[in-house]
Amino acid sequence: MVRGRTVVAMRKHPLFGLMVEFVEPTDVVRAAHEAYQAGYRKMDAYSPFPIEELSEALGRHKSGRLPFIVFGGGVTGLLAGLGLEYYASVISYPMNIGGRPLASWPAFIPPAFETTVLFAAFAAVFGMIILNGLPMPYHPVFNVPQFAQASRDRFFLCIEAKDPKFDLAATRHFLEALEPKAIYEVDE
């Protein structure tokens, strides 16, 4: 079954992009910076540990939506906790406990605090996972066997074929000028 792009030769699978491998973190940051300067946008870099400069070089400066999601989670948790306590003590089953008011809010603070933290923590974890598009057991970059090193001691930069500036020959030429350790064509 032969299908897909025929830029240079007939490919068995469509091309996902071109990937370069580096040994030093400094090199991948430089490469990402130059690729961004050259106008490439649909690309991502892969590293075994977080590199702050790398996401900056890729043009991602903003701290993103996650802190707002976590704040929203916390507010939801606070309202849910207080709401639950109010509903249970005032509406559903009012009970006179030592002559205290039914809505004895000072006593309601500790459980509401706990639900605030609980919901905020869930928002942080699931917000991070969902915004990252995880879980994603399959991704084209895993088709390059050497990519297994990305979780150990190698650094990768992948420019996707979807990028409007992408041209197999020209992009390859551009990437070769960055002096990578290796260059791979990534199958879809």
């Binding site: 400094t26 910076h33 974890v125």
Partner: protein
């Protein structure tokens, strides 16, 4: 360690409810009697505090493991292991944008769990206030329980990490500097705890309350007086050797002091709970507490549960975060400062 300890800590109240299979009655859920738990009670606050603490700790633990699970997936030789680690790592591929959000999430989680540590131990001390027994109402309890938790926690971390770094040759990862810093924290929190003991005694005396004063004298010189003096020996005198550099920097002595502190913290709970309960208001209700073999069995069983879970973790998952260690390497530094500014490469 927290999660395993919370699992053990959960065993005690659940087993002591008498009907442990009804533990879910503690939670607010819609039931056929439309009954809700009593939200004004510290005992219910404790249910919320402990379950939140356990959940958030478990989440933080799992999130911290994701990049390392990806490493294990990529290194696995066995296809079954690769599949299991692949599932658990959620397909983590170390993309720059993912790392960025990941670090934000970790920072926020760390910030969220810190007040949880304070709240969970504060609420535990509130549990005592609900009882009418003398000796359970000192207002110093919340901060002194928090300090006690940090004190006992660091002692436990030292008890686990000192043999581990020798057996697994982790001296380069858990350095003497780490141990010395932990010893300093132990000394500081230990002194706060001892201040708590002093204040507890002072409050009992200064309250002018007959029963509180009797409790104080009874605690020191009554049938359980030995436990009180052992407690002071373990938690007050023994850690004072940490003032000396020779002891702070010696893993052997740190291990010994940590063991003594753990015994001391156990004695603290024994003193607070048993001496107050054994001799309360009416001499007719006085008695002596003698542990039964089931008490010993529960105690040994929870130690066994903790050690089994800990060893399973050490065997199957990375005991030290791999990706954090990697980012500490000198080779992990990006030269020339911010790459985006360019021109700075030597």
């Amino acid at each position: 360690m927290t999660i395993f300890a919370v699992a053990c800590a959960g065993m005690y109240p659940i087993l002591h409810m008498g009907r442990p299979w009804l533990a879910y009655w503690l939670l607010p859920y819609p039931n056929t009697m439309s009954l809700f738990p009593q939200f004004r009670s510290p005992l219910l606050w404790d249910v919320f505090a402990v379950s939140t603490y356990a959940t958030v700790s478990a989440l933080f633990w799992f999130v911290g493991l994701i990049p390392d699970l990806a490493t294990l997936r990529d290194r696995a030789q066995n296809p079954v292991a690769r599949m299991i680690f692949g599932m658990l790592s959620l397909g983590w591929r170390g993309a720059a944008s993912h790392w960025h959000r990941y670090e934000t999430a970790c920072l926020l989680l760390a910030g969220l769990s810190t007040p949880l540590v304070l709240s969970v131990h504060t609420v535990v001390s509130f549990d005592f206030t609900i009882g009418i027994i003398p000796g359970w109402h000192a207002t110093i309890f919340p901060p002194y329980f928090v300090a006690g938790a940090i004190y006992a926690g660091f002692a436990m971390v030292l008890i686990i990490s000192i043999p581990l770094r020798v057996v697994c040759r982790l001296e380069d990862f858990i350095t003497e500097k780490h141990l010395t810093n932990m010893a300093s924290i132990m000394l500081a929190t230990g002194l706060i705890v001892c201040f708590g003991y002093a204040m507890e005694a002072f409050f009992a005396y200064y309250s002018g309350n007959l029963y509180e004063r009797f409790m104080l004298v009874n605690r020191m010189f009554g049938q359980y007086g030995w436990a009180y003096w052992c407690l002071l020996l373990c938690n007050f005198l023994a850690p004072q050797v940490l003032w000396f550099k020779k002891f702070r920097t010696s893993p052997f002595w740190l291990f010994v002091v940590s063991l003594i502190v753990s015994v001391g913290m156990w004695l603290e709970r024994f003193v607070i709970i048993v001496t107050s309960l054994a001799n309360d208001f009416l001499p007719s209700s006085w008695g002596q507490y003698i542990p039964t073999r089931w008490d010993f069995a529960t105690f040994l069983g929870t130690i066994g549960l903790f050690v089994s879970l800990l060893f399973l973790f050490l065997r199957f998952l990375p005991m030290i975060s791999m990706y954090e260690m990697r980012s500490l390497l000198p080779a992990a530094k990006v030269n020339g400062g911010k790459g985006a500014h360019g021109g700075g490469h030597a």
